[in-house]
Symmetry: C2
Subunit: 243 residues, 2 copies
């Protein structure tokens, strides 16, 4: 039998059978950045597109207008490298958790979602840098904006600007906030204090990241690479390079 000579095919087929394909044989597929959580793009998949993604580990979709498979990146080289795939409780919606090689949108924007309903209301010109950002990345964007304002000498005074301009102040705040975070544990303070102090640590440390031109995405990538092995193994592997 063909199936026994191709033992790997059966489980993929079984898996594909478990998806609830719509009347056109399609399901929704959402590509999400595994590190930042940013929704990169959304397309549709048929059986072949999902099977191709599973085997190639590159996010692949079915184009409804051209009625063909297409792998994101096949022309731009900005592939989305698959880290994991999830289906929802109804089995008709799929998340491609992946790492993009570059901007996902054909416009050159990092993601396809740069048009806020608010901007459409105000009939403002859409800026491709105004992405749908979740909290951490929205904070990162705000810090970057404050840095740009410093050069232009306008905009209101802000604590972020003071920190960006004063390395001593910034570092003394980071050490102070880390100490305060620890004291919420040592002195058995309320959990709400811990959340507040951790927010302080993250915010001040993110101003330092901006000063060093490091994106929070880079930091998360370091964490992802690290915690796939145990911390002790990881510390041992780093022992020779660390102080």
């Amino acid at each position: 039998m063909a199936i026994s000579s191709l033992p790997c095919i059966q489980p993929v087929d079984t898996l594909l059978d478990s998806i609830k394909w719509d009347d056109k044989g399609l399901a929704v597929a959402i590509a999400q950045n595994v590190d930042t959580g940013a929704i990169l793009m959304q397309g549709f998949v048929n059986r072949d597109a999902l099977a191709t993604t599973i085997t190639s580990r590159k996010a692949t979709f079915f184009s409804r207008s051209r009625a063909t498979l297409w792998t994101k990146g096949e022309t731009s080289n900005n592939f989305i490298n698959i880290y994991d795939i999830f289906v929802d409780c109804d089995r008709d919606s799929i998340i491609y958790l992946g790492k993009p090689d570059g901007p996902t949108c054909h416009t050159g924007s990092e993601t396809c979602y740069f048009t806020s309903i608010g901007d459409l209301f105000k009939e403002q010109e859409v800026e491709e840098t105004n992405l749908a950002l979740t909290t951490l990345y929205s904070l990162e964007a705000t810090i970057s904006k404050r840095e740009l304002e410093l050069a232009g000498k306008h905009g209101k005074p802000s604590w972020t600007k003071r920190l960006l301009l004063d390395e001593n102040l910034l570092c003394s705040k980071i050490r102070e906030e880390a100490d305060e975070l620890c004291r919420t544990l040592e002195e058995k303070e309320d959990s709400s204090c811990t959340a507040s102090e951790m927010a302080d640590v993250i915010y001040h440390a993110m101003v330092l990241l901006r000063r060093k031109d490091v994106k929070i995405e880079n930091v998360l990538e370091v964490l992802r690479r690290r915690f796939s092995q145990s911390g002790i193994e990881e510390k041992q592997s780093r022992a020779s390079t660390e102080s």
Copy 2:
């Protein structure tokens, strides 16, 4: 004219006209947690569903099977409170950025995406706690797992477990890593060192969060509430309660 007596209607209609509805009058809508970036659920919207979401600020969809509007939470009370709405470059896919009042999935799971393709391959039983997690939340889940293993007295030794058991070690590491992060700026070290030290700060601080039973989502919520005003204003408003 009716339009001049209802001045607010025109822009909503204009906005709804700009969406590229499919042959059934639908577009894809993805609900995403504004703080964590978790994709909560995906549904479809028609004009009425999107208009209702814009005015009610509760994520509302069109049920294709029942051919009716439904607001997530209308039976469970677990509404998704809209923070912002984005459309993609093709104007046929929508993100509802929102804050859920409770678990989004009808199964009681935090999100509808708890079935990994890998589990389907292995024909393993699907666990509703095995969510599609991005890096920060995957790390948080790993730390929680290590804490659970401590109680069971099995599992391999790990650095996380040592930190969870030893408050002095944990706090001294947090202070040390914060100091090392600062020194990458003060001593003009390479940016890759900054990313690595920031990863250390976040990881160790997240172990402390686990000890204090604080979710990283709580911390991000604090940050979101805080940075909608300027840092200086915010510090002034906190001045009386801070050391």
